[in-house]
């Protein structure tokens, strides 16, 4: 990298980390919303 490796690689690592975090966080958000909806439906089933 012609002496610039300590600047270039952290940038790529950071941005790929951000991509991975976004994927993980979106997946988790969706799964938690689904669980909450299932719990709400179960409570409605217990007390119609």
């Amino acid at each position: 990298m012609g002496g610039y490796a300590r600047f270039v690689w952290p940038c790529f690592a950071l941005v790929f980390g951000v991509l991975a975090w976004n994927l993980w966080a979106a997946n988790r958000y969706q799964a938690e919303a689904r669980k909450r909806a299932q719990r709400a439906l179960a409570m409605m089933g217990d007390h119609p």
Binding site: M1, G2, G3, Y4, A5, F7, V8, P10, C11, F12, L14, V15, F16, V18, L19, W21, N22, L23, A25, A26, N27, Y29, Q30, E32, A33, R34, R36, A37, Q38, A40, L41, M44
Partner: protein
């Protein structure tokens, strides 16, 4: 036309469409980012002035672009929610905010790491850098405001208002290098006429831009499904949706 518009905003339609679009967006993102990364790191020649440090552009520019695009989406969706009282507008805005904020932060940090060898400093109160920092603060403000109200409807409306006011910052970021003296380089790709980059450098960058947009589409769809479920948890159609 209005029937179509309102059908487009129906929660079950949004939920199902988001599910159908996610794998397509993700596949396109993986292909485009994969090609852009390899071509940008391996095949693109070093810049004649910046050497290999210029390769930071392949992650910095798409992050900055995406941070502005996600904010514009947030503001437009917020305006749709506010003007037409379409709940899905607010859901899109809420889903877009954390994605855009993370890329605004990535753009600032990668820009700072690029600035050190090129300008001799990690940070300068330069118009481009400052306006991008304001964008990050706007994202934080919009997200905080939404969650500050007990009534989600009021939170949505307050966040939409701030988002609409803050959208004025987007053209400021874009034209800051034209309007003021700036350390930051001028536009190289989004120029009227021909871009100032040779194809061997430009194609990987365009591929990364496309890949980041597709990635945004995929993650937005995933978050949107969660938002719709959170907002519609009492609706009858959700019963079938969460069982399947």
């Amino acid at each position: 036309m209005w029937t179509w518009f309102y059908r487009l905003a129906s929660p079950p339609f949004v939920y199902r469409t988001a599910a159908a679009c996610t794998p397509w967006f993700m596949a396109a993102a993986v292909a485009a980012i994969g090609y852009g990364t390899i071509a940008g790191l391996v095949f693109a020649p070093p810049d004649y002035q910046q050497g290999n440090a210029f390769r930071i552009i392949y992650v910095h520019a798409p992050s900055a672009w995406l941070s502005m695009f996600a904010y514009t989406t947030l503001a437009v969706a917020g305006a749709i929610g506010l003007i037409w009282r379409i709940k899905m507008g607010h859901a899109v805005a809420a889903a877009s905010a954390p994605i855009g904020a993370s890329f605004a932060l990535a753009a600032l940090v990668t820009g700072s790491l690029w600035g050190r060898p090129m300008w001799g400093t990690y940070w300068a109160w330069d118009p481009r850098l400052t306006s991008e920092l304001i964008l990050l603060f706007l994202y934080v403000g919009v997200m905080s405001l939404r969650s500050a109200f007990e009534d989600p409807g009021r939170g949505d409306r307050a966040a939409a208002l701030l988002a609409i006011v803050g959208v004025v910052n987007i053209p400021i970021i874009h034209y800051s290098v034209v309007w003021w003296n700036s350390l930051h380089q001028g536009a190289t790709v989004a120029k009227i006429g021909m871009p100032e980059m040779p194809g061997s450098m430009l194609w990987p960058l365009l591929s990364m831009l496309l890949g980041f947009m597709c990635f945004y589409g995929a993650v937005l769809c995933m978050r949107l499904r969660g938002e719709v479920l959170n907002r519609e948890r009492q609706a009858a159609w959700v019963r079938e949706a969460v069982r399947s």
